[in-house]
C-alpha cells in the first residue's frame, strides 16, 4: 500500500469509524458470541501473498464487529467510561504517522517537550500544588503512563528503592531481602486491584485496611495499622490512596492520611484514575484536598477526559527519585541535551519506547477547551443524579454509596441473591450493560455514565429496564438464587 492508496483507505476507515459512532445506538452494548467464536471465521495461518485491502475491510463486519463490546453505546453503563473523542483520534493518527519513538529527548524532542508542557497544562487544570509542576518547581513534573497500574507500580518501586537505601545507610549489613521482609504497604479494601498487584510485583506485604461507613480510608485507621506494624518492628513505606474507587467511587480522606504518612515517612501515592478528571471543575476540586501531602498521583484522561486509551497522567514531587530508581546509563543513548535539563522519560516507566501520546492530549485540550471538558463532566454527573432520583423514588431499592460523580451504586433491599438475580436478568435481557460489585459482603449493581452519547432519555430507558427486571425478581418472591452468570469464571 503506497501513500496514495493510504489516502483513499484512510478516508474509508475514517468514514467507517464515523459511521460506526454515528449509528452506535442501534447496537446492543454486549456482543452475542461465546468464547472461541472467532477462530473458525479466519484461516489458521497468515496468507503467503498480500491481499487486497477490500477483503480486509469486508471482514470487519463479518469477523470483528460481531465480537465487539460497544463501550460507546449510550446503553453501556459498565465499569467506568473509556474516553473516545474525535480530536484524540486525530492526534493518534498523527502520532502513528510520524512514528517517532521518544525514549530520550534526542530520539524525538517534540515528543518529550510537548508532554512536559501538557503535564503542566493538566496539572494547572487540576490546581495541583506547584511542587508537581515543571514550570513552578525544581524537582516536580509529570509523565504520560500507560495505566494507573503502571503508575502505582512505579511509585511503589521508587518508594521501595528509597527506603532500602535509607535502611542500608543506617545499617550496612542489612541485605535487600532483610529490608524487604519488613516493608509494609497499605491501601483500602475498596481500592483497585492494581495497588495490591503493585505490592505483589514489588514483593512487599500489603495490608488492605477497612474503610469507614462512607467507604473512605481514614487517618486513624492508617495510624493504628502503622503503629501495629512498628510494634512488630516492620517498616511502613507506601500508601496507595484512592480518590474515586472502582467498586463504588468512594474517596479516601487525604487530609487525614497525609499527615500520618508524613509523620512516618510513608510515600503516599494517590490513584484518582476515574475521579481525577472531575477535579477540573472547581466545585469538585475538594476531593483532591490533601494532595499536597502526596509524593505522587495519577489519573486517567483516557477514562473521563476525552483522551483515547492510553493516557494516564502521573505526577511526582521529586523526579530524581523516579529517574534514579532505575537509572541505567546506556551508551547508545548517551547524547548531549546541551545543558538544559529535560526528562528522559524511559527512566520513568516500565517500557523503553514510547509513542507521541501528548499529541492527542494537546488536541483534546485545545478542541474542547477547559470549559468544554467541564461541561461534559457536569453533564455526566447530572445524569447520574437523575438515575439516583429514579432509584430513590422506588422504595424497593437502596443507594449503596453517596452519588458524588458519575456512578450510581444501588441494590434491591434485602439479600444479595435477589440482586444477583436482578443483575442476571438485566444481563440476559441485553438492552443495557452494567457490571456488579461487592464490598463488605454486600452485592450491588453499578450504573456508570460512560458514553458521551448518553442522554436523559437513555437514563430513563435504563431505569425502565431495571424496574422491569426488578418486577420479575419481586414476582419470583426473591427466593430463587441464580448464580449462572456470576461466580463461575
Amino acid at each position: 500500500m503506497d501513500a496514495d492508496e493510504f489516502r483513499t483507505r484512510g478516508r474509508q476507515m475514517v468514514d467507517y469509524v464515523a459511521d460506526y459512532l454515528d449509528t452506535i445506538d442501534s447496537r446492543r452494548p454486549l456482543p452475542d458470541v461465546t468464547p472461541g467464536y472467532l477462530r473458525e471465521l479466519i484461516p489458521s495461518t497468515a496468507p503467503d501473498r498480500g491481499e487486497n485491502f477490500d477483503t480486509v475491510m469486508a471482514d470487519l463486519d463479518r469477523v470483528i464487529m460481531p465480537g465487539v463490546t460497544h463501550w460507546h453505546s449510550p446503553q453501556f453503563h459498565a465499569y467506568f467510561p473509556a474516553a473516545n473523542s474525535f480530536p484524540a483520534l486525530l492526534g493518534d493518527i498523527l502520532s502513528g504517522g510520524l512514528g517517532a519513538i521518544g525514549f530520550t529527548w534526542a530520539s524525538n524532542p517534540a515528543c518529550t517537550e510537548l508532554e512536559v508542557a501538557m503535564m503542566d497544562w493538566l496539572g494547572k487544570m487540576l490546581q495541583l500544588p506547584n511542587d508537581f509542576l515543571y514550570s513552578e518547581s525544581e524537582k516536580g513534573g509529570g509523565i504520560i503512563q500507560s495505566s494507573s497500574s503502571e503508575s502505582a507500580l512505579m511509585a511503589l518501586l521508587c518508594a521501595r528503592t528509597e527506603v532500602i537505601r535509607q535502611q542500608q545507610d543506617n545499617n550496612q549489613h542489612l541485605t535487600k531481602g532483610q529490608v524487604l521482609d519488613k516493608l509494609v504497604a497499605y491501601t483500602s479494601i475498596e481500592s483497585h486491584s492494581c495497588i495490591e498487584r503493585a505490592a505483589m510485583t514489588g514483593l512487599v506485604t500489603i495490608r488492605a485496611l477497612p474503610s469507614d461507613e462512607n467507604g473512605a480510608l481514614r487517618g486513624a485507621t492508617l495510624e493504628k495499622a502503622v503503629q501495629d506494624d512498628l510494634d512488630k518492628e516492620l517498616i511502613p513505606f507506601y500508601l496507595g490512596a484512592s480518590i474515586g474507587t472502582t467498586t463504588r467511587c468512594t474517596f479516601d480522606n487525604l487530609k487525614e492520611l497525609g499527615p500520618v504518612c508524613n509523620k512516618h515517612k510513608i510515600w503516599m501515592h494517590i490513584d484518582a484514575a476515574y475521579a481525577g478528571s472531575a477535579c477540573i471543575c472547581p466545585e469538585f476540586r475538594y476531593i483532591l484536598d490533601g494532595v499536597e501531602h502526596a509524593k505522587s498521583l495519577a489519573f486517567n484522561p483516557h477514562k473521563w477526559m476525552q483522551v483515547n486509551h492510553d493516557c494516564t497522567a502521573m505526577w511526582v514531587k521529586d523526579k530524581e527519585l523516579i529517574e534514579g530508581a532505575f537509572h541505567i546509563d546506556y551508551y547508545i543513548l548517551r547524547q548531549s541535551n546541551h545543558g538544559v535539563r529535560m526528562p528522559d522519560f524511559r527512566h520513568w516507566q516500565i517500557p523503553f519506547g514510547r509513542r507521541f501520546r501528548s499529541l492527542k492530549l494537546w488536541f483534546v485540550l485545545r478542541s474542547f477547551g477547559v470549559s468544554g471538558l467541564q461541561a461534559l463532566i457536569r453533564k455526566d454527573i447530572s445524569l447520574a443524579k437523575q438515575f439516583e432520583r429514579f432509584v430513590q423514588s422506588d422504595p424497593r431499592f437502596e443507594i449503596v454509596a453517596e452519588v458524588v460523580l458519575g456512578l450510581v451504586c444501588f441494590r434491591l433491599k434485602g439479600d444479595n441473591s435477589r440482586n444477583e438475580r436482578l443483575n442476571y436478568l438485566i444481563h440476559k435481557d441485553g438492552r443495557i450493560h452494567m457490571t456488579p460489585s461487592k464490598v463488605k459482603d454486600m452485592y450491588f449493581l453499578r450504573f456508570a455514565i460512560c458514553s458521551t452519547r448518553t442522554g436523559a432519555a437513555d437514563v430513563a430507558f435504563a431505569w425502565d429496564i431495571v424496574r422491569e427486571m426488578a418486577d420479575k425478581v419481586t414476582l419470583e418472591n426473591g427466593s430463587v438464587c441464580y448464580n449462572e452468570f456470576i461466580d463461575h469464571d
Copy 2:
C-alpha cells in the same frame, strides 16, 4: 467536533500524514532545536474555550515539526528501525474508533480472540515449537505486550514467583526476602538494558556475563557462573538471552545455553526484539535454534515487521505461570466465559486496560502477506551488506561484528578518540543520523537500515558522508579528541 467534522478533519490528517511520508526525504533526519525549544511556542495554560481545529492544524508545522526526529527518513540509520506502515496506521484508526478496552474476554471478546489468533499466526511464521501455540498445546500461548522491557520483566516476575514457591515448599520457614537475597539472574554484557532493569525491578542480583569473540554468550560461560553461584549457595533462576543485541546485533548461543538452563531449572527468556522479525525468512530461522529450551520469548513487530508501535509479541510455554503469578480475582470482572478457556490478558501484563492492538497486526499480515514481509527484510539485509562492502573497500575501516541482518557496526582502525571524532562530525554535518555504541571499551559506529524508504542510493549517499568525514579525521592526524557530543549527558 461531531462525526461529520471528523470525516473532514480525518481526511485532512490522513493527507497530512501521507504528504509527510511522501516528502520525508526532503527533511534532515535530526531536528535543529535545543532543549526547551517548545515552551515558548505555546501558551503556558490550556485554553478555556475550545479552538477551531484549523488553528491546531496550523500549529503542527510551527510547533511540532521543527522538533521531530524523522525516523522514517531514508537517511535515518540510528538505533533500530521503528515500523511504520499504512495498513498498521489503518488498524490503529479502527482500534481508536472502536475505543473498546479488552482487559477481560467479556470487556471486548473480539480483542482477546483476534489477539489469540494473531499470536498463533505469528508463532507459525517464526516456526516456534508447538509448545508456544494456543492451537497446538494445552498450556502455551502469546500476548501483545507494550515492549520487550515489559516482556522481560513479566518473564522474570513469573520465574521469581515460581522459584520462591518452590523454595518455600521445600522449607516453610524461608521468607520471601531470604529467597530473594539468593536469587541470581544472568545475561550477557551485550544485552539490552531492559534485562538489567527487569532484575532491578524484581530486586534480584543480575550478573552480566562476558560474550565470546563473536559477541555471543556461550553455554560454558553460563555453566561456570551458575556453578560459582551454586557453590556460594545462591539460587540461579533466570537467564535473559538475546538474539540480535542492540549494541551490535550479536546472538547468544541458545543451543548451548538451553541445556544449561534446563539442567539447573533456570527460566530462559529470549529477547529477540529486533532480530525476531528476520526469523520469518527460512534462511534466517537458524538464529532461533534452541528456542525449544526457552520458557518465554519476545520480539518486536513494531521494530522490523511493519506494525506501528506498540506491538511486542511475547509467548510463554506455560500460561498458568504467567496468569498465576499475579492473579487477583476482581469482583467487578468476574463474569462467565461460558466454559471455554480464553486468556484474561490483564493477568499477563503490567497495565490493566489494553487497546485493540491485534487489529494492526492482522491488517499488516494480510496486506503484505508473509512473502511481502520477507521481501522487505531481505531488502534491508542486502542494503546492510552493500554498506558492509563499502566499509571493507576502505582500508582505514574495520567491521566490528559479523553483518548478519540489517546492522553494520564499524569503526576507523585505531583509537576510540578518532571514532568519537568521526561520530561527532557526522552528527554535526546532519545529513544522515547514526548512533554510536561501545562494547568491551571499543567505541564504534552503528549503521542500521531503518526506513522502508531507504534504497541503494541512500546507502551510497551515507557512505560518501562517512568517507568525507573520515577524511577530515585523517587530516587532523587522528590526534584530536572532541568529546563534545558524547559523554556529557
